[in-house]
Symmetry: C2
Subunit: 133 residues, 2 copies
DNA sequence: GCTTGACCTTCTTGTTACTGGAAGGCCTAT
DNA sequence: ATAGGCCTTCCAGTAACAAGAAGGTCAAGC
């Protein structure tokens, strides 16, 4: 099938699919007119990458996971390690954002939000007091 | 003071401070030798931006917040609106990452992590079954 | 006076994972 | 023949810096 249909079936934009070919994640055949032709195998790889990306894996991690998937002699420990590291990173980011959320939420609650200029949000950003720790 | 000291006092890398000057967030004077000289006012702006960035505000949001801070006739409602929108965005991202975390966490727990090739993580990425919800 | 090392400058390039747009070829229907 | 919808490649831009090269400046020590 052509790229449009591949895009529709995988949910990935055509641009993204071309990009994935550029960086070697997928390598569709070409028709005589130069159009990409995607096989079932190509579709499968695209789906794999799409799902891995949706779980937050980087492109390089996707590449590694694809390689492991293709390697029948892999040890599942290796896959688990990649996923586990990624999990730790996600947790770190959630913690970071949660901290932001708490600090900022408190500031927003303290701000009157009226037509007067007094604003604890600006005061805090200006260094006037609490709530960064 | 020179850029190194400004960096140490604000906790921002020198590179970052130069970048902030490039994009007009701060405008230190220059000594006759061309070195940047940071005044207390410059330091204050850098601190402001640093704290705003730590709360996840984008550079453009920082620019707006700085302008509001300088504007004595501002309405706190305007500041609160910016902060509130940002809060919503943070919540969205936390929810997104939490969903990833849950899905991936479950897959990791299901993976034996031994020297055999069988791996539910890869199987799931390959499209073989559950857990993308 | 000279060297050394730490500091400073500007400029260019790279990062991540794409997205947008331009210029042009191909294909089908009318 | 032409219109449209698809396809191609290539170039530029995004966010927020970081890395590094080439070179100027300054204070200390010999």
């Amino acid at each position: 099938m052509n790229i449009k249909e591949a895009s529709q079936r995988t949910g990935l934009p055509s641009k993204t699919i071309r990009y994935y070919e550029d960086i070697g994640l997928v390598a569709p055949q070409r028709d005589t007119n130069g159009y990409r032709r995607f096989s079932d195998k190509d579709m499968h790889r695209l789906g794999f990458v799409g799902r891995a990306r949706a779980l937050g894996f980087s492109i390089e991690e996707c590449r590694n996971l694809l390689a492991l998937y293709a390697d029948q002699t892999r040890a599942s420990a290796e896959v688990k390690e990649i996923a586990h590291q990624h999990l730790i990173e996600i947790d770190r980011r959630i913690a970071e954002m949660t901290e932001m959320r708490n600090t900022l939420g408190q500031l927003v609650r303290c701000c009157a939000g009226d037509d007067r200029p007094d604003c604890p949000i600006l005061e805090s950003l200006a260094g006037g007091g609490a709530a960064t720790s």
